[in-house]
């Protein structure tokens, strides 16, 4: 990697400028985000923390291209994603972004490997080839032996890892997770974070995690605190008063 590699180093993974988001609540308009300016660096594991209702999910949804901001610009690896056409934005997500949902949202009737292979299949890869790649990813996450099982035959932590495999299998440059460890015990939670760092964070990639979970705060490269729709802390550790 020559030119693009260098460019990726200089360029932030995500750059937001003046991002606001309003929601309509009955007659009232509620402003949930107040002009967020943020650069997320590649090669970093970034946490977004804050109290319930502070706007974390809204922020992360806007950063990964599934929720339109009311105002402001969002660039992901240099692409102004909300100026893309609908179809181009969908394809941009398919090529560049991995998602880990809190409820996993695995498809119950296909096995773990096929679930993990979904982004590749959606990209148009042959199903069996995609499945092979997915099994390799499951192997990295130490659950290759569960590849043939249906989601409901797996434990919560195993399903979580299948969801992680699905987020990483197509080697996206940005991975976003909302509360990935909320449902896990402390030990599994840390293991999941280790895995995410190992597989998801690289020179030209980054991972953003929304979390409440103070058991894993020490694993972050950077912690952003959101309060009432504004970023009030930006550092490598949590502020004292939290």
């Amino acid at each position: 990697m020559t030119e693009t590699g260098n460019q990726a180093e200089r360029q932030p993974a995500i750059r937001t400028r003046g991002v606001t988001r309003d929601f309509q609540a009955g007659q009232q308009t509620i402003r949930v985000l107040h002009g967020i300016d943020l650069d997320v660096c590649p090669g970093e594991l970034t946490y977004l923390v804050g109290e319930s209702g502070s706007g974390k999910t809204t922020m992360i949804s806007i950063m990964c291209g599934i929720l339109w901001p009311t105002d402001g610009d969002v660039e992901v690896f240099g692409t102004d994603i909300y100026s893309l056409s609908d179809t181009d934005l969908v394809n941009f997500r398919l090529q560049n972004i991995g998602f880990i949902f809190q409820q996993y949202n695995l498809i119950p009737s296909i096995d773990a490997a096929s679930n993990a292979a979904v982004p590749l299949i959606a990209q148009g890869m042959d199903r069996l080839e995609a499945r092979e790649r997915a099994v390799a990813m499951l192997d990295k996450l130490n659950i290759a032996d569960q590849a043939g099982k249906l989601p409901n035959q797996l434990s919560g932590g195993q399903q979580q890892r299948v969801a992680i495999a699905r987020a990483l299998v197509h080697e996206p440059r940005l991975v976003v997770c909302d509360e990935p460890t909320a449902a896990l015990d402390a030990k599994s939670g840390r293991r999941v974070m280790d895995l995410l760092r190992e597989v998801g964070v690289a020179e030209d990639r980054s991972v953003i995690i929304v979390t409440h979970d103070n058991r894993i705060f020490d694993l972050a490269d950077r912690i952003l605190v959101l309060e009432d729709g504004r970023i009030t802390h930006d550092g490598t550790d949590m502020p004292e008063d939290h």
Partner: protein
């Protein structure tokens, strides 16, 4: 992605079978009811089709069908024979009578008197005995469905009947299309029939006509009407009259129409509800796919494949069910000669497509309206 769509559908066994059942049930109801309807209607034409050799039927102008006929004057036969283009013309008598069976029961029967010399007026085939038996005294030939009705489980051959106080002996069984009312039909020679039918008023119901070579039945019938002042219908016209008579004078079209409509509504209801439930159960998965990067177009394809698959399999089962029904009852006199006209599967196919498109579209709207951002909530 389509593979995933199919697995999503078949993986949810309960709903998958529910959907199949809905479509299959609907298709079965529509196909089967339409089949019975059409076949029953066609029986309105059975009197005409049983006499396949007659090209033209001549009758009194007020006569409407083979069973609703006013007597002709006896001069009609010679009048018709005098029309150019008529190859042959024979008398045909149709009348109702009461018959006393051996057990003393009274049964209404139709007596059909066929031409003494040519036996024109008999159905084409015989199931037992030959048409020659009519030359023996007091002979009648009974139709097969009538035989089963009047002599269930036993052979009617040799049975004696009392027809309006006249003796009749059953000597043969004809292979006939049953009438709409499945009335027992007794065929006998015209001269013999006159003895069975009391009174002097009804001596001739129809004159059956064969067209000379190269003469077309339609123009011949017009010429007969012109020259005799009687009503003349080609075989096909007269068959059609029989069908129309049933349509106009019975509640059958309405009854079957209601059943078919019910089949359709039940189909829409079962399939619509089940499909909506299926989509709702999978809405999180669809939302996840949308977030990951599956376009709305692809999602629509997935839902279409799911709906299409349910539709095709369910439709196949429904049509198979109808075929099974018809063949299972093919030996039952009520369903004798029943067949599935090719138009009917097409109609039920169209109904099925309508159900699928309607319910699929409603279900799809739910998926389309899901914001991908909803997956993080």
């Amino acid at each position: 992605m389509l593979w995933i769509a199919i697995r999503m559908l078949t993986g949810d066994k309960q709903k998958f079978y529910g959907l199949l059942f809905g479509i299959a049930f609907s298709t079965l109801l529509i196909t089967q009811q339409l089949t019975i309807f059409v076949n029953l209607l066609e029986r309105g034409a059975s009197g005409t089709y049983n006499v396949s050799s007659a090209d033209v039927w001549v009758m009194d102008p007020v006569s409407r069908t083979t069973d609703v006929a006013y007597a002709l004057p006896s001069t009609a036969l010679d009048q018709v024979r005098g029309v150019p283009g008529v190859d042959w013309a024979v008398p045909h008598l149709r009348a109702n009578a009461s018959v006393r069976t051996k057990d003393g029961d009274l049964e209404g029967v139709a007596i059909i008197g066929v031409d003494d010399a040519t036996l024109i007026g008999l159905p084409k085939g015989m199931i037992e005995g030959s048409t020659d038996v009519l030359s023996q005294p007091d002979s009648v030939i009974i139709d097969d469905v009538g035989a089963e009705r009047m002599f269930p489980g036993q052979s009617p051959i040799g049975e004696r009947l009392e027809l309006n106080d006249q003796r009749a002996v059953v000597r043969g069984i004809a292979d006939a299309i049953p009438s709409f009312t499945s009335t027992v039909v007794l065929y006998t020679k015209y001269s013999q029939a006159l003895r069975y039918v009391p009174g002097t008023r009804n001596r001739l119901s129809f004159v059956l006509v064969g067209a000379a070579d190269g003469i077309d039945a339609k123009s011949l019938s017009e010429r007969i009407e012109e020259q005799t002042g009687l009503k003349a219908q080609t075989r096909d016209e007269f068959a059609r009259d029989g069908v129309d008579f049933i349509i106009e004078n019975t509640g059958i079209p309405l009854n079957f129409g209601i059943t078919v409509l019910l089949g359709f509504i039940v189909g829409v209801a079962i399939v619509g509800l089940t499909f909506s439930l299926f989509i709702r159960d999978n809405i999180k998965q669809f939302g996840a796919l949308k977030a990951i990067g599956v376009t709305n177009g692809k999602i629509a394809q997935m839902v279409a494949v799911q709906a299409g698959m349910v539709g095709m399999i369910g439709y196949g089962l429904g049509v198979l069910g109808t075929v099974g029904f018809i063949s299972a009852f093919s030996n039952d006199p009520t369903f004798k000669g029943f067949y599935i006209p090719w138009q009917i599967p097409l109609i039920s196919f169209a109904a099925m497509v309508l159900i699928i498109v309607l319910t699929g579209w409603i279900a799809l709207r739910g998926v389309m309206n899901t914001e991908p951002a909803a997956v993080f909530r």
